[in-house]
Symmetry: C2
Subunit: 76 residues, 2 copies
């Protein structure tokens, strides 16, 4: 089974990577880019039967820094 | 309008970040993690009426390195 975890910085946490992308897009002539947030996506190939609770535990323990990041889990 | 771009390393391209996550999960006692790929997700807040073609151009020019990365665009 596959699981996809998306980790984003929480609202209000400064996102310098996203800001850099926003500036770069402007410099390339793309107008109307009002905001950019950059996060990471982790695709996990797991043994069949792994529960969503296990994936949540992976997020809490390793994949996300829950002080500043939020995460979303999608199970296929 | 919002657009979400997901950028992943192409199949066959070594993904050391993903490998590091896989090892770390194993070390934490999570069994059955067969593979991990890590990519990035970029959430764009764009002026209304921006076309998907424009977002594709952003990917080709800046957001993805198309030699080694593939990208996927979702428009909300």
């Amino acid at each position: 089974m596959k699981a996809k975890v998306t980790v984003m910085l929480k609202q209000g946490v400064l996102d310098p990577q996203g800001e850099a992308v926003r500036h770069a897009l402007g410099a390339l002539g793309f107008d109307g880019v009002e905001g950019v947030r950059q996060g990471k996506v982790i695709e996990l190939d797991l043994a069949d039967g792994t529960s969503e609770a296990t994936v949540t535990e992976m997020c809490e323990k390793l994949l996300a820094n829950t002080v500043i990041e939020s995460y979303r889990i999608e199970i296929d």
